[in-house]
Amino acid sequence: MTAELVDETAATDRDEVKRPKGQSELGRSWARFRRNKLAFGSLFFIGLLILVSIIAPLVAPYGYDDMDVTNRFAAPLSESHLLGTDQLGRDVFSRMLFSLRTALIIGFTAELLGLLVALIIGLWAGWKGGRIEGALMAVTDVMYCFPGYLFSVIMVVIMGRSIIAIILAIGIAGWVGQARLVRAQVLKIKNYDYVEASRSIGTSPVSIAVRHILPNAIAPMLVTVSFGIPGAIIAESGLALMGLGVAPPMPSWGGMIVEGYIYVLAHPHMIAAPLVLFGLTVLSFTWVGDGLRDAFDSSEEDHA
């Protein structure tokens, strides 16, 4: 699969570091990525977050819905509750972990859903051109004046507040920009000589798309995904902030923040903890995205 990615001619005049012969483009990018300590650390942190969210029921000291009624508004570091409890006596630390789980599930699946739609339509539009391309551009034009969250809100109003509905709402709102990106990428790669060559020997469009164009579009797509996931997480907590997130009692950072905000003066611990984890999660994805972008971009151009 990596065979297409080896680009010997380009390799000689790029990249300042000497590298062993035969290493793939992806391998070189990975080496560059690993040198970026912040990005690599963030990737490690994300791995940790995923692990924690998978085993959340085991790690969390309480269930997300367990109420310790005699112990409402417990302060952090109290004897039985690490980060205190909320207005119903629910353990903030446990709820924070389950929120992480909700956020990651929605973030990953919504982004992947959007990406899948974007890939299909973007590849098609970029390859075929003509009407489909015109239609895609028209849709993009319309979506530009239709803020993403607005669309998500209306979708949630239609489909209800199940986790699947929210994934669909966020994923659908996000595909347009990505489809444009795929299309731009396809248009670029389409004109490369080797694509021309394989077309001239009669390779079918589908196989060209899958074997030549897709592997070349992977790098920018990976970058988009790593920026798209925190975007979806932010969208999810935004929906929860408006009272349209996952249905309670399932916790979500947005919901915890709105509930905690009512008591913020007396009990700031209720929002402080989810806020920190939320911020760190979003940032670590962004830093990974930044690292990936720098790693794939071997030219020394400034990219603002």
């Binding site: 551009m137 028209a138 034009d141 319309v142 530009y144 004046c145 239709f146 803020p147 993403g148 969250y149 607005l150 809100v153 209306i154 979708m155 949630v156 109003v157 239609i158 209800g160 507040r161 920009g177 990106l181 970058v223 988009t224 920026f227 798209g228 925190p230 975007g231 932010i234 969208a235 907590s237 935004g238 929860a240 902030l241 408006m242 009272g243 349209l244 249905a247 309670p248 919901g255 923040i257 709105v258 509930e259 905000y261 913020v264 003066l265 700031p268 929002i271 806020l275 939320f278 911020g279 979003v282 940032l283 994805f285 962004t286 830093w287 995205g289 930044d290 400034d302 990219h303 603002a304």
Partner: protein
Amino acid sequence: MLGYMARRLVRMVLSLVAVSLITFVLLQMVPGSFSELSNAGSTIYGDVGMVDGGEAAVNQGDQRPAWQQYLSFMKGLVTWDMGPTYKYPQASVEELIGEAFPVSLTLAIPATLLTLVIAIPIGMLAAVKKDKLADYGSLFTLTTIQALPGYLFALLLVLIFSVGLNVLPVRGWKGPEYMIIPVIALAVQPTAVLARYVRSSMLEALRDEYVVAALAKGGTQRTVLIRHVLRNSMIPLVTVVGPIFAGLATGTVFVEVLLGIPGLGRLFSSAARQRDMPLLMGATMFFAIILMVMNLLVDIAYGLLDPRIRLEQSGNKGSRRAKRPGQPKVSTGMSTDSTETVVAIGGTRV
């Protein structure tokens, strides 16, 4: 130029019709009418079902066929007379929007000004000190800030100034002191977007030949920077500042909801929670109109400021979307968007 403006206007109207159709069709699919959810809706504690069946029957909603409803809505939108809302039968949609919009504007205008005042110097500094510590430091900080949503900064400010120092109010909308936290919180992310944009725009202007010429003629670095580079690199800024302002005037939902500010965003969010269709439809269209008008103004201003765009526009009449600089979406804060813009601008400048 006139032909160009006319074409853009036609396209804008077509897009608006498309947006209204999409919204209308989507809202037709909403299960459960307002009457079923009367007195209730979605809250943070869950969907509250029907509480009072007898009274709810009064609010049957519109029983006419869908296309008639759509036409009467569009007529209402054009004549700015959209009738009563479900939730507040005594108030009309346009009254509620008319009340909420000034509130959002009083936040958006200072926030945009604050953005300009802070972002331009930072971006310039980063461009002039390119590849030095100041550049890397600010670039890193800016990307980091850009990734975080505005309401997160609002919460941080509340934790510091309201909870910690106890000098600013937590929520509400009663006086000037209630503006401080939302304005700063709203300005943070656009500042990061704009500063990065100023930086790359300046860098591009610095590479142009007229800069070399001006330096060769004996201009000091300072005068060249201010009189040549700054003036030329400010032109593309129009394309970013316009959408930033439009985004702030409409897209402040989360900050408004959180801080209890009675602006457009909160109006929209409560309409959505309560399934108040006339209000939801009206607010959505209002958002779309503002964003589109802003885009139109940006395109026209850009054409006026940079004759090259204008010439190119009249040059290839055949292609409908010849040169339109992409707009960065402020609300999502995805840095890929601004890169796209820079690329698009770069294309028009060559």
